[in-house]
Homo-oligomer: 386 residues x 2
């Protein structure tokens, strides 16, 4: 296919897709590979979409998102973070992944360099590369207090042509949560150097220290700062399949976002936006309920895995994944494939989350506790057999 960009056709398929697609929807598999629970979006949210459909909300609307949704987002952010965000700073172009892609393309093109905190979701490195950038990863360290990374370690890999830094906190896959003092130091560096900071905070409601949300760049960023902060409905409101996220940007960037949104997906469906607005307004109970469910899932993972002699596992501080290291495995993909083939348990291979993760796997603990226990028990059985 000489007519396609070789740097794109040379991109590897995500390791998650690679292992999962052949058995997608197979009911015999315990699927711990995706970042997704097994709970159907609650009825009050689905009802909002169905009402909008029944009322005939099937036309184009603002490509940056309906005012109704953007106001609901503003109210939500005020309630959770105590900040007052103008609707012009809010754009909802489609999914939070689309927010990441657009943000990356707003800053990057061929010849530019980007930095991504690792381990990271495979899509992050890919989307930066699709934008044309060369990508450096800076990997969190596993310490006695869990995964750690300072702002200075990130700054140390910045080059003269670095145009974008990507940080995902709480982190998929490690559960790392960036400290407020490191956020401030990184923000000041980006402000000084005019480097776009993409802050992926889709897991902001999933922290296990009792806080209502993770420390956020939103609370320290000034309106004109080179920061774009991304949120989404998928994880905390059980809306993975809806493809709805939003981004907070400098107000001055709102026209650029309008143009990009129009040229990418031309916005999200109004009925989807109605559902999201309802979820944000009436979903605090749901968020709390899901968090309690994930917290118990996290405990189950620790109870079952952490005592195993071949497993090193730090208790995740945020998000809903465990990222254990398994002594003695040589290929995370081979391990995940064998586990799937012999025990029908689906996990994500570590290699796809960046370099030096070949002995890791990612386990999502969002699903039913029975499935999770069964899956982990089978995994240990497999480990002890081999």
């Amino acid at each position: 296919m000489k007519f396609l960009r070789p740097d794109i056709t040379g991109l590897p398929q995500s390791g998650i897709a690679k292992i999962a697609i052949p058995r997608l929807g197979d009911p015999s598999v315990i699927p711990l590979w995706f970042g997704e629970g097994d709970r159907i979006t609650p009825e009050f949210i689905r009802e909002a979409a169905m009402s909008a459909l029944a009322e005939g909300e099937t036309f184009y609307n603002f490509t940056r998102g309906t005012l109704h949704l953007r106001e609901a987002i503003g109210d939500y952010l005020a309630r959770i973070f105590g900040v007052d965000v103008h609707p012009d700073r809010i754009t909802c172009p489609g999914s939070s992944m689309l927010c990441v892609t657009i943000a990356a393309q707003l800053a990057l093109q061929k010849g530019d360099h980007a930095v991504a905190v690792a381990p990271h979701w495979p899509n992050i490195e890919m989307t930066l590369k699709i934008a044309g950038a060369e990508v450096s990863s800076v990997r969190q360290r596993l310490t006695d207090e869990g995964w750690a990374l300072s702002a200075q370690e990130i700054i140390d890999v910045v080059r003269p042509n670095t145009r974008c830094i990507f940080v995902n906190s709480p982190c998929n896959p490690t559960g790392w949560v960036m400290k407020p003092e490191d956020q401030l130091a990184l923000l000041e560096f980006c402000r000084e150097r005019q480097i776009l900071l993409i802050a992926d905070e889709v897991y902001h409601r999933m922290v296990y220290d009792g806080s209502v949300a993770s420390p956020s760049f939103l609370t320290i960023a000034r309106d004109e700062d080179p920061v774009m902060i991304i949120y989404g409905m998928s994880k905390s409101w059980a809306m993975t399949g809806w493809r709805l996220g939003w981004v907070i940007t400098p107000r001055e960037a709102s026209t650029a976002w309008q143009i990009m949104s129009e040229n990418f997906n031309t916005g999200a469906a109004v009925f989807t936006q109605r559902a999201a607005a309802t979820a944000l307004r009436d979903g605090d109970g749901l968020v709390a309920e899901l968090l309690a469910h994930y917290a118990r899932g996290r405990d189950i993972v620790m109870e079952i895995l952490s005592g195993h002699p071949r497993i090193t596992l730090s208790k995740p501080k945020g998000a809903f994944y465990a990222f254990p290291r398994i002594e003695g495995i040589e290929s995370s993909l081979q391990f995940a494939q064998d586990l799937l083939d012999t025990e029908d348990v689906g996990v994500a291979p570590g290699y796809t989350f960046g370099e030096d993760n070949e002995q890791h796997i990612r386990i999502c603990f969002a699903r039913s506790h029975e499935q999770l226990e069964e899956g982990l028990t089978r995994m240990l059985r497999y480990l002890d057999r081999g």
Copy 2:
């Protein structure tokens, strides 16, 4: 905003958005500016989405589209074009605009050149530029037989670094329909030179010569040809706000599309795809009914406008727009703005469809015939006054 790409922040807002956004949703305006009718998506299509929601279809699925939808698309294409398209060649990443953007980015980056047939929808030039390309337009000629352009005229503007040619037929805004012999010549050229041909055929069902569909690259492209053909639900099934389109690609490109779809919007919602599949399967009557409505709208435009001494208007052969030239106007934006301010009629200014359109405006004739007549009558009143 030094942290953003100057080539993107320098992009103009679409002239359609520019004029329409300040009065979006204002009921006193007769909106002929968007490519959208006033018919709510029919109930049988909305019901399919609502059923899927009621059944709990709220999870992730294949990022290239559900097999259910891709099979429905395959059946549809077989019925309309008599071709047998393998599901691996079909991707539904979100809207047809997203298909265009992904296709463009698969071929183009900074340093590359792209050719677009003009007059064209403003998003086309923008999305090619966002991909990093320099863009040359090749403009259709208005002849006694309507808008015309040969394959050779397109080929004549190709450069050594041309990596993509964009053709939209039937054309928004002129209604031009590319001839089969020109499609064949262009395809052979692209095959020979390995240049990606993006064929935007979203208006394929809107032709007024009695054919079931416009001449299509689909019927002449071989599986391995460098062609991506784009369709969408918006126009012929009254589903503008749903953001659902699909693309037919070489089979070998399916993994690249899976990666791109995952990194852009990670697919469309399953309930939206269910609605589209129902529309494709059961919507032939709807398509015919809408086409008859548009045909009458086209007649109304010709009856009211074509006799006017200052108006040159060729009867559109496809799509649902008229693109008249109005003698004596100096700025299409000023004309559109004055018409809006004084008569509450919204039209799209010609300048935004590429160079040499400053005396043109685009009128969508998809809405109610009463509104269309009233809008056109007011426009003539405005013209004759000024």
